[in-house]
């Protein structure tokens, strides 16, 4: 079985980032680029399927990133992915969700797949719209927000999170699934994995290789950025040390009444 995992490169999640007041853009200095944490869950889910299904199953990572992202993608190979495809082209810059999904779908079709595994969202744009859009472009069912996923022959059996529990859902392959953090903790690359990753292939693809029939990037974007503004400032509020529970409750209740929240 051919499994494809989509991966996005994002500014480090744990770094305390700031916006340049002049350019309104993220200050990248001192902020590492990492694999989107949600995509690490996707990769883990794919690797676990490979562990179960055996050596004939391959896991290929597909990402859209500048050439400089190559070494970050290698971490996915060190974790156990068999190879990677890097869609890298100046024409990708400024892509919206629609354009990104369109180009990734073309790259995934070119790679070949039975199952596509994605994260639920990225930590920078946080639209959560890529999995659905990608499924639609691929023309396959998109089974999202999964906390458990199994492949039984040519059927995916899964549990989809809901606010009150979960749905048991099944779908025939080929399909796209997106997985949540509940799926499993991502593995750390082993030393053997890190050494082995150096020999694995990261295949570059340009937009010309994908034979797209419409532009992507900022030229093709259907949702364009028209303004960047600063969020309302959130400043330090009141700090009250209390002697006991009753005093704490009284302080909070008075505050909530003052704010008309109760």
């Amino acid at each position: 079985m051919k499994i494809v995992v989509t991966v996005k490169l994002v500014p480090d999640t744990n770094a305390d980032k700031r916006i340049d007041p002049g350019t309104k853009r993220l200050v990248r200095t001192g902020v590492e680029t990492v694999i989107n944490p949600f995509d690490e869950y996707a990769l883990e889910a794919a690797l676990q399927l490979k562990d179960k299904l055996g050596a004939e199953t391959t896991v290929t990572v597909v990402t859209m990133a500048p050439e400089s992202g190559k070494e970050i993608v290698r971490k996915a190979l060190a974790m156990g992915a068999d190879g990677a495809v890097l869609v890298s082209d100046e024409g990708c810059a400024g892509s919206d969700v629609l354009g990104t999904a369109y180009a990734l779908a073309a790259a995934i079709k070119k790679t070949g797949f039975d199952l596509v595994v994605t994260g639920t969202q990225s930590t920078d744009a946080i639209t959560g719209e890529l999995p659905g859009a990608l499924a639609e472009f691929l023309g396959v069912p998109g089974l999202t927000y999964l906390r458990k996923v199994e492949v039984d022959g040519s059927t995916v059996k899964a549990e989809r999170e809901t606010d009150t529990g979960y749905l048991k859902v099944s779908v025939p392959l080929p399909a796209l699934v997106s997985v949540t953090k509940s799926i499993a903790e991502p593995r750390y690359p082993s030393l053997k994995g890190i050494m082995g990753a150096k020999k694995k292939t990261i295949a570059p693809l340009g937009l010309a290789d994908l034979a797209l029939d419409r532009p992507i990037g900022s030229a093709g974007a259907k949702a364009e950025l028209v303004a960047l503004t600063d969020p309302p400032a959130r400043s330090k509020g009141k700090v009250v040390e209390v002697a006991d529970g009753a005093e704490g409750a009284r302080v909070i209740l008075e505050f909530l009444r003052e704010k008309k929240l109760v």
Partner: protein, 327 residues
């Protein structure tokens, strides 16, 4: 784009509040654009939902009780919403920024070749163009996006607008079943683990617990009791979820949910960046912590320093007494 189409999510025989919030805002947007407001309600009980929607400023309510909507995931809803959008012509399509809403919205956007944006907390209108305002990078910056396509899809974050009743024309239109539909994502069973519980994304009050709770038990007792007393939902920090004290669906933060409740109470949560990005756009933030120097003190509106195991139950008691005195 003139018309505004609202995709209505409903549960337990009632529209979800976020859909009513969106319907209310849709009226304002449609009036500014010179178009009408459509609502789309699908699945079991859709006619009853439509009857309730008549209390909101909607011109046309499109319904279908097609059994496929509840038997299969997402796809039937995409087909119906696509049909309404195509019939309406260039329109702004509003879905709730929820698991179902984002899925339905993104798929419909692809079918319409439309731009899409998510996590929308406000709109602006200038020169007949709609600007969708969303916080990005965990609230570090606020972006405004506009569509260059005929249709545009915006996923609207719950609690961004107030739902206000004001009856519109409320014409009910029964939708025809899309032709050639063959669905594959079969729902075999629904398992309810926490009946009637409000999701953290939608609740207007969220009480979250963190490492300071020390174990799973307080989530089911003191935190849950306080959330119940406030009519809110139970949230959690990554530390609590990673420790296995509470399911991931409750997690607020970078690898969990990003929310804007009107009131957020953080109990025993330090408020590191990972958590902060998920809740810093809340209306009011109250923190309860034994340590006065926790990071959350830098941006909470009120930090009460003391023993959470004493304060939280007392607060619940006081809220209940106050509610009883006013009823």
């Amino acid at each position: 784009m003139k018309d505004v189409i609202v995709f209505v999510e409903h549960t337990g025989g009632r529209p979800r509040r976020v859909s009513l919030e969106i319907a209310t805002k849709a009226r304002e947007l449609a009036s500014a654009l010179g178009g009408s407001v459509h609502a789309v309600a699908l699945g079991k009980g859709a006619n009853e939902i439509a009857a309730q929607l008549k209390a909101y400023p909607i011109d046309k309510i499109h319904v279908s009780e097609d059994a496929d909507v509840d038997a299969y995931l997402i796809d039937p809803q995409v087909d119906y919403l696509e049909a309404v959008a195509k019939a309406a012509g260039p329109a702004l399509i509003l879905v709730p920024n929820t698991m179902v809403g984002r899925d339905v919205g993104s798929r419909v956007a692809v079918r319409l070749g439309a731009g899409m944006t998510a996590d929308v907390v406000d709109f602006s209108i200038g020169d007949g163009r709609v600007g969708c305002v969303s916080p990005k990078l965990g609230g570090l910056t606020i972006t405004t996006c506009a569509f260059t396509s005929d249709h545009g899809v915006a996923a609207v974050r719950p609690n961004s607008f107030k739902a206000v009743q004001a009856a519109g024309a409320g014409e009910i239109v029964q939708l025809a079943k899309p032709s050639g539909a063959a669905y594959r994502m079969k729902i075999e069973d629904e398992v309810v683990e926490a009946a009637g519980e409000l999701g953290v994304e939608e609740a207007s009050v969220v009480v979250s617990g963190g490492r300071g709770l020390g174990g799973p038990e307080p989530f089911k007792t003191i935190v849950k009791d306080l959330a119940d007393a406030l009519g809110g939902a139970v949230g959690a920090s990554r530390a609590a979820v990673d420790a296995g004290w509470i399911p991931h669906s409750h997690q607020v933060g970078q690898t969990g949910k990003t929310i804007s409740p009107s009131l957020y109470i953080a109990v025993g949560i330090s408020g590191a960046i990972q958590h902060k990005v998920g809740m810093r756009t809340a209306g009011t933030i109250v923190a309860i912590n034994k340590d006065a120097s926790v990071p959350i003190g830098e941006f909470a509106d009120l930090l009460v320093v003391g023993d959470l195991f004493q304060i939280v139950p007392e607060l619940t008691k006081a809220l209940k007494e106050s509610a009883a005195a006013h009823s």
